[in-house]
């Protein structure tokens, strides 16, 4: 049982990192990033390719992965930030598909559809699986703390003010733009690090693992939990995991549903929850706990 | 007869009231100006009157009928027309479409012809998309559109906002002419002095409340008013 729980914590933890990053970008700064899986892939491949065939230190590679994703995030934001939010959403979504197809196409660098294998695990004191979960949780705590401090800093107050005041948004000032860019870059960094953790945890990555569905899962987590709240990302990720994983157990007590049907019901239930919450409770599950 | 009557009207977005208890009325064949500083709640008040604000409370009647319980869509048939600020025509619709949106049938057809004779510039550009009109033409179209439904009251939100001083004068002339068509006017204006000159009465808003009210000439002559809200002579 313990290994199952550790696996759940590791994978849930990686999703939580992504949710925290999105929360920073969308929840706190109002930037709808639908290209999450693209930055995740960039981090993943950067760290994997650096370490798979050489003696490059894993931690160094993870840092570079984060920085590279941050740089890409920053660069993309510079180009698209002046677009209206709907366009921004679709452009970032397109960006993530461009990343995925480039990974498929640039076979010399990325090994194409065959993926990268032999990615070293995370070196630490314990067994590889435990190392990963410890590190994933530690990074999550760090990100949560950093976000907490950031949001309460003058910088954080500015970006929140920017998000809340639509009128001020229209008369966007120079410093506001630079704030937004920095937030986008920061989020990208966290996504890149999450990707690196993912690569070292699984030891194998391929382009098929970076489909837009992952982005939507992260959005689902953030919307379910409530955007703009630290607790929201956490609760949202837990609820999402409960839907995806808990339903496996649900079927054991409901034997008349086959797994084939359950696979449909599981996704359908997530879709349904998303519809209900978005239309009837847009502030998310945790919306009432913290003030606006 | 009293057309529009507001009592203790509050209008707001979210949890904040922008308009915080206003009493106001418009008589038949009367031009009433609402002036006030930026952010005094003028536009929000008008949105409330038109049923376009998220939250409105208090009392609001039109020709004795309750307005609050009616939807925005219903108010037109009671006889209220609305000309919002700037976005006051349907840009992708042609001139005649902009007018016919207010009603169809034989009656509408003849009404439209009346409008074209009243605003000949529009008559020459019936098939032009409204976005292609000049600022002045656009304003004329907005008036014509509002008049199509033969309203008893026209609500104007800063009709001269984006116009040159010359065009503004023209617009005020048009507003004055409306009286001859048996239409009352409730008008928000930044150019309060000019506006009050053609009005019967005026209200001055400040922070969501009525700061001053009275006959137009009296307000124009009030030294305090002069200092606080009208500024130096133009």
């Amino acid at each position: 049982m313990i290994h199952y729980v550790i696996t759940l914590l590791s994978i849930g933890g990686i999703y939580l990192l992504l949710a925290q990053a999105l929360n920073l970008q969308f929840g706190f700064a109002g930037l709808p990033n639908f290209g999450i899986v693209g930055f995740f892939a960039i981090g993943s491949y950067a760290s994997a390719l650096l370490t798979a065939n050489g003696n490059f230190p894993v931690y160094g590679a993870m840092l570079i992965a984060g920085l590279l994703a941050a740089l890409m995030s920053f660069g993309l934001a510079r180009i698209v930030l002046r677009l209206r939010t709907d366009y921004l959403a679709i452009v970032t979504l397109s960006f993530s598909e461009i990343v995925r197809i480039l990974v498929i196409g640039e076979e010399q660098i990325t090994n194409g559809p065959r993926g990268v294998s032999g990615i070293p695990g995370i070196p630490l004191l314990w067994s590889p699986g435990v190392n990963a979960v410890v590190l994933i949780i530690a990074v999550n705590v760090l990100v949560a703390l950093a976000t907490h401090l950031l949001v309460r800093s003058p910088f954080g107050r500015s970006i929140r003010a920017m998000r809340d005041d639509e009128a001020a948004f229209a008369s966007i000032s120079k410093s506001a733009v630079s704030y937004k860019l920095r937030v986008f870059g920061l989020g990208g960094f966290v996504m890149g690090v999450a990707g690196a953790l993912y690569a070292h945890y699984f030891g194998y990555i391929s382009p098929d693992q970076f489909l837009p569905l992952t982005t939507f899962y992260v959005w689902i987590a953030v919307i379910l939990g409530g955007a703009g709240r630290l607790s929201g990302a956490l609760i949202g990720t837990i609820v999402l995991t409960l839907f995806l994983e808990g339903s496996r157990f649900l079927r054991d007590v409901l034997p008349f549903i086959s797994e084939v049907e359950m696979a449909s019901v599981r996704i359908g239930a997530i879709g349904f929850a998303l519809m209900v919450l978005a239309s009837r409770r847009p502030q998310g599950i945790m919306g009432d706990f913290t003030s606006k | 007869m009293r057309l529009l009557e507001l009592k203790e009207l509050r209008v707001g977005y979210g949890e904040v009231d922008i308009v915080r208890g206003i009493d106001l009325h418009v008589e038949e064949n009367e031009i009433v100006t609402i002036a006030g500083t930026n952010g005094a709640g003028k536009s929000t008040l008008v949105k409330g009157v038109m049923g376009l604000a998220p939250r409105t409370s208090g009392q609001m009647t039109f020709a004795g009928q309750d307005l609050l319980s009616r939807s925005a869509e219903d108010r037109r048939s009671l006889g209220i027309s609305y000309v919002p600020q700037v976005a006051n025509v349907f840009p992708s619709l042609s001139v005649s479409e902009n007018l016919s949106i207010m009603g169809r049938g034989q009656n509408a057809k003849s009404r439209m012809d009346e409008m074209f004779s009243m605003f000949p510039a529009l008559g020459r550009r019936k098939r032009t998309q409204a976005r292609a009109l000049s600022g002045g033409e656009r304003q004329q179209l907005a008036f014509a559109r509002a008049l199509m439904s033969q309203p008893k009251l026209i609500v104007l939100d800063e009709p001269t906002a984006a116009l040159s001083p010359a065009l503004s004068t023209q617009v005020f002339e048009q507003v004055k002419q409306l009286l001859s068509m048996d239409v009352a006017v409730l008008m928000i204006e930044q150019r309060a002095r000019q506006s009050l000159k053609i009005s019967h009465r005026g209200y001055i808003l400040d922070s969501g409340k009525v700061a001053m009210v009275g006959p137009a000439e009296q307000l124009l002559a009030d030294p305090e008013m002069e200092e606080l809200y009208l500024g130096v002579h133009e």
């Binding site: 049982m1 199952y4 559809p113 098929d208 496996r248 696979a263 599950i285 919306g287 706990f289 | -």
Partner: protein, 412 residues
Amino acid sequence: MKNQGDVSRRAVLAGIGSTALLTGLSGRAQAAGNVFRIGAPNTITGAAGVFGTGVQNTIIEMAKRLNAAGGAGGHTFEVFAEDTQTLPEPALLAARKLIEVNEVKALLGVYSSPEALAIIPASNAADVVLMHTGAAPKLAADNTEGLGFQFYPSSQSIGFVLNQIVTKEGYERPVTLTLTNDASIGNSTSFHKYWAEQTGSEPEDIRYQPNQPNYRSELQQALLANPDVIILNGYEPDATIIMKQLYELGNTARVIAPEFAVTTRLIEALGPELVEDTIVYRFVPNSDSAAYTLFDEVYQAAMDAPGSANTYAAIAYDEMNLVALALELDPAISTGAELADAIHKVCGPDGEPCNSFAEGKELIAGGATVLNYLGASGPCDFDDQGRTPGNFGVSEVKSGEYVFAYGIVFED
């Protein structure tokens, strides 16, 4: 307005709570006498969603039938099924849950390399047998405990077979159409290598992306090379579109494709005329084999469709038979390692040949200690790294039916 449709936090949390409660109540496997637990983490949804249901239903149907026939070695089977979404992380979570919560001893019907690569460290550590159709070479290297069984022939052997077919039929200008995924690229690359060694020329290779609505420019490029044979390395949905559009564009060159691409469902959808004379290869030498006929019947019962629609289901059928035979041979099996050993004893290539569990059971009752199970998906022989050697059957489609032509055995 805002409150009108509001769902309270309490209601949401209550809903989640009750789900959690149900979750907590479940999952405790009931202790029964000799129940052998099998995990089926299959690709119900995701990229390989067209195959997973058939695979899973075949495993469940087989368990039902084996149990009805009295089980194997005194064991009855209980199947725990999961969806892997054709993705590694849900696959790993499914496998972990099956291993630790349901305490399964074998994972059957695992589909792709990424999934198998994600699962194999976990199954190795937990001493659980892993039967999969991954093709990545690393899977053999990762098979450190000897618990892995790779049912999909290597890309190398498929390239070999393709080369044999083209040579045998006397074609000179082959062109490959290759789906951009691991297995298909491997197959084409391997074919190119053999062809280059033999003829010194490099055939044109056209890579296509999945899920495109229109392959006309790809096919136009392929036809520009004036091929006399087109080798299609892909799967059922894209093959359906490509076969149709090839025909529309006036192609007369013959097509060679795996049977899991040119399926009976494809033939039914396009009509026999479009598919006439297509050469299909499958991992089973001969679909007239006794094992194949039996599988076909099981698949009909499980899916209400002919077995040729799903090669992976044939593989799953064989996986169940091998596990059952192993238990019949050694009823005392309690660990994964023991199960893997016993499977090696019943799978061949030495020993007494048998086509089904029933036959094998009789042979064991008669004192046989080594069997050679000949399956529906192939001879089911495995080397000590768990790899299957290639042993292929080639058929031609005639009036909508597969007509067996010849068999090919892979030689390195």
